[in-house]
């Protein structure tokens, strides 16, 4: 885990809009994470739009989604305009770097998932530390963590999304705290997984 280059949050404490961009690989639960954040915003009366793309992307391809809150209405996040990048996979963190600016907060899972070209031995997976250094050099703050191993510690590798949500909420940069997020996890995720999800969220929350 590394924490580097913390810059002042872009617009200080008077932010009135938040653009959070999510990227990951099909099957990692990015869409559930965006939905939980959206429901938490609704619970706290914060204006919110959640943008998803369904269909083709789910077959092991890249899945991108977004949560925008506050005054902003546009469901799409332009290149250079993400306040937060939630990257569920390190290669995808670097691919989505175009969404960030020198002010962005990036939370990145360092556990790689090989694309087909890599797993078939055609090309090499880029060095993770190197990629994280590149990301770190272009953004305000990077929190890189092995969310997969934390999720495993909570009881399921599938809870990477909950770990990353926990880490995001610890940064206290959104217009609501951890409680509404935990409430939504309790009411909106599948019963047998609620305990694991809450534990994973908490393990992510411990990461600073």
């Amino acid at each position: 885990m590394e924490v580097e280059g913390w810059a002042v949050w872009p617009r200080g404490s008077c932010m009135d809009s938040w653009r959070i961009f999510f990227t990951g690989v099909g099957g990692q639960g990015t869409l559930l994470a965006t939905r939980i954040l959206g429901e938490a915003a609704l619970l706290t009366d914060v204006q919110v739009v959640v943008s998803e793309i369904h269909g083709m992307a789910q077959r092991g391809g890249v899945v991108e989604s977004a949560v925008v809150m506050g005054k902003v209405l546009s469901p799409v996040v332009s290149d250079g305009e993400a306040d937060v990048l939630m990257a569920f996979e390190p290669l995808e963190a670097l691919r989505a770097l175009r969404k960030c600016s020198a002010h962005s907060l990036v939370i990145a899972n360092t556990s790689p998932i090989s694309p087909f070209a890599v797993s078939s031995g055609k090309v090499q997976y880029p060095d993770v530390s190197e990629m994280m250094r590149t990301v770190s050099g272009h953004v305000g703050k990077l929190i890189a963590l092995n969310a997969r191993s934390l999720a495993r510690g909570a009881g399921s590798e599938l809870a990477v999304n909950m770990v990353l949500l926990g880490t995001l909420m610890r940064q206290e940069r959104l217009p609501f705290g951890r409680e509404p997020v935990e409430t939504v996890i309790k009411t909106r995720t599948r019963k047998p997984f609620v305990e694991i999800n809450l534990e994973a969220f908490d393990l992510g929350f411990q990461v600073v």
């Binding site: 690989v25 099909g26 939905r35 959206g38 429901e39 609704l42 204006q47 919110v48 739009v49 959640v50 943008s51 998803e52 793309i53 369904h54 269909g55 083709m56 992307a57 789910q58 077959r59 092991g60 391809g61 890249v62 005054k71 902003v72 209405l73 546009s74 469901p75 799409v76 996040v77 332009s78 290149d79 250079g80 305009e81 290669l91 995808e92 670097l94 691919r95 770097l97 175009r98 600016s101 090989s114 694309p115 087909f116 070209a117 890599v118 797993s119 078939s120 031995g121 090309v123 997976y125 880029p126 590149t134 272009h138 590798e157």
Partner: protein, 621 residues
């Protein structure tokens, strides 16, 4: 209880645009809904499907969009409020019915949802279906967010009934697949049954009836134009001497841009929610006194051209711009920076778009067929059966289109649903290479059967492989006429694919289980070598989608496969199968080996049948 039925009027929910459309229809007392699944419209039908099990609402997954629209039209003519939803290209399939239904009209409200897909997130083209409104003369509403999706759907039923004409609700992917906060209205119970009154001289469109109905349609259009000029969905706001005319999701980008560029006192915005018939008088009122107008709309200059015509007719000479000189592109969906940049250029403002890092070249991550997908096994078997030989592979629309990518590379030509079969026939008559076409089961029912009959009639010479995985997998496992696996257990199919194929006049029919690799290769070889018996040969490759099978049967996987030390690194598994569970690895001494990811392996055993170094083991819990 379904989440869209449980919530009270006045409460707030975070709803997908597609869910909001369903809720709006329920608040209008919808009784009858049809669809053929297609992204980005699929969730509309899927929600109706579940809701129809709880309330007295008739819903069906129709065989294709034309059938869906004709079925819904009958309900609407019988006085029931009805909805027919589809993706944009689905409306091409339904267009024949649409054009004349516009003449015939309806009694109960009929709302036709066309879900367009700018940027082609999951489509073969990004056609702008607003032109269908103009072509057919039907009124059209275009929501900008989930709240409007609900309100416009509800209002569309009233509009449809009061003018006795179907209404088009045209959305784009960003509206269908965005979740927004929606304040709900009150549910209305569905009407139990409709009644049909015979009226052949208005409902049977022979030429003499059609002539009269066309004139009637133009009268309705005239009245609807007055409605558009006063529609609550067409609103002007802001102040200043510049103007923007916009619609749908683009409205959000415009509002954000005005706030961020601090133009609140300089730009007026006209947002059109009812975009056809064109609200010309309203627009002219808006134009008067303004200096210059930017039209912000995705895809084609639909509003821009109508606005220019209206301005010319009333002698206005102000500058109206949109798609010319690449100010705004006619392709792909917009994004906020693009709109700010275009506004800055047109209104001569100071704005610097954010600097974007080009980023290094990275390994791509294209979607792939899932581990255990029977399509992979079929493609492998066909290529093995062809040996050194080659063939042209016309393909079709579904998960199996992913056979396009290496290492399978079993896709050479594709236009639309059903084109595999008909184009295979064309190729067989136009050139000498053998032709092996692929089509999925749901796509075969949708529009493959007609092409097959045509091929038999005209003595085409090709092999058609029907990839029968027992469901409409790509769009979320919706049922089709040949479904056998259900939550209640296996059942005989309502329509048997083999019987259909034989009924179409095909004599050479073979059914294979593609997960039995050697047997399948052998059987396919026999069929392909049957060149001395030219004609249409059909191979039905039948094995359920593993994701669907697991969901429906709840069966737990017991076996996974592993690579043993006998592996000689021949790489055939990587180079010929391309299963995502396989990984090429190197140990600390740079020694290469191949590993199967236990989490991904679905236990299909295809790899074990092609390689002695792959063996089964018990799946750890």
């Amino acid at each position: 209880m379904h989440e869209l039925l449980g919530a009270n009027g006045g409460s707030k929910r975070l709803l997908l645009g597609n869910q909001a459309i369903v809720r709006g229809a329920l608040e209008a007392g919808i009784s009858f809904a049809t669809t053929y699944p297609g992204t980005p419209a699929s969730e509309i039908g899927d929600n109706f499907y579940r809701i129809s099990r709880e309330i007295d609402l008739y819903f069906e997954y129709s065989v294709n969009e034309k059938v869906a629209l004709e079925t819904a039209a009958a309900a609407a003519v019988s006085g029931l409020r009805s909805m027919c939803s589809m993706k944009h290209v689905g409306l091409n399939v339904a267009a024949d019915a649409l054009m004349t239904l516009a003449y015939v009209g309806v009694k109960g409200g009929l709302v036709i949802v066309s879900a367009d897909d700018p940027s082609l997130h999951s489509s073969q083209n990004e056609q702008d279906n607003r032109y269908y409104a103009k072509l057919s003369g039907l009124p059209m509403l275009e929501p900008a967010n989930s709240q409007e999706a609900l309100e416009m759907t509800r209002a569309a039923f009233t509009l449809s009934e009061s003018h006795q004409i179907p209404v088009l609700l045209r959305t784009t992917t960003r509206v269908n697949h965005s979740r927004g906060v929606v304040t709900l209205g009150t549910l209305q119970p569905p009407q139990r049954s409709g009644s049909f009154e015979k009226d052949p001289f208005n409902l049977v469109v022979v030429p003499m009836v059609g002539r009269r109905l066309h004139v009637e349609l133009l009268k309705k259009s005239h009245n609807l134009r007055a409605e558009a000029n006063h529609s609550p969905f067409n609103t002007a706001s802001g102040e200043g001497s510049w103007g923007i005319v916009t619609n749908g999701v683009s409205y959000n980008y415009v509002v954000d841009a005005i706030r961020e560029l601090k133009l609140g006192d300089r730009i007026q915005v006209l947002k059109l929610g009812m975009t056809y018939p064109f609200a010309a008088e309203l627009c002219l009122d808006f134009l008067k006194g303004l200096e210059r107008i930017l039209v912000v709309e995705e895809l084609e200059p639909f509003m821009e051209e109508m606005l220019k015509v209206a301005a010319q007719e009333s002698g206005l000479t102000l500058e109206i711009r949109g798609k010319e000189d690449d100010l705004l592109p006619r392709y792909f969906e917009f994004d906020p920076v693009q709109i700010k940049t275009a506004m800055a250029r047109f209104f001569e403002l100071d704005y610097q778009p954010p600097k974007v890092e080009p980023g290094p070249e990275l390994p791509q991550r294209p979607p792939n067929l899932c581990a255990g997908c029977p399509h992979r096994a079929t493609y492998y078997a066909v290529k093995q059966a062809l040996g050194e030989g080659t063939a042209i592979y016309p393909t079709d629309i579904g998960c199996y289109t992913l056979g396009l990518l290496p290492p399978l590379q079993t896709a050479d030509f594709l236009l639309c649903m059903g084109s595999s079969v008909s184009s295979a026939g064309g190729f067989s008559k136009a050139q000498d290479q053998p032709v092996v076409a692929f089509i999925g089961d749901s796509t075969f029912f949708h529009s493959g059967i007609t092409g097959l009959i045509n091929a038999v009639q005209n003595d085409h010479n090709f092999t058609l492989v029907i990839l029968d995985n027992g469901t409409t997998a790509m769009t979320g496992q919706q049922p089709h006429p040949g479904v056998e696996l259900t939550v209640e257990g296996p059942q005989p199919p309502k329509v048997d694919i083999e019987a259909v194929v034989r009924g179409c006049g095909v004599d050479q029919v073979l059914v294979v289980q593609p997960l039995q690799v050697r047997k399948t290769i052998g059987s396919i070889k026999e069929v392909l070598e049957g060149d001395e018996n030219p004609g249409v040969r059909v191979i039905i490759s039948k094995s359920p989608c593993p994701l669907f099978e697991r969901r429906v049967t709840g069966r737990k996987q017991k076996v996974v496969f592993k690579v043993t030390e006998e592996c000689d690194m021949c790489r055939r598994c990587l180079d010929e199968l391309g299963c995502p569970a396989f990984t090429y690895c190197e140990d600390e001494e740079d020694c290469a080996y191949i590993r199967i990811d236990e989490l991904l392996c679905s236990g299909c055993s295809v790899c074990a049948q092609m390689c002695h170094a792959v063996t089964p083991k018990k799946k750890s819990a």
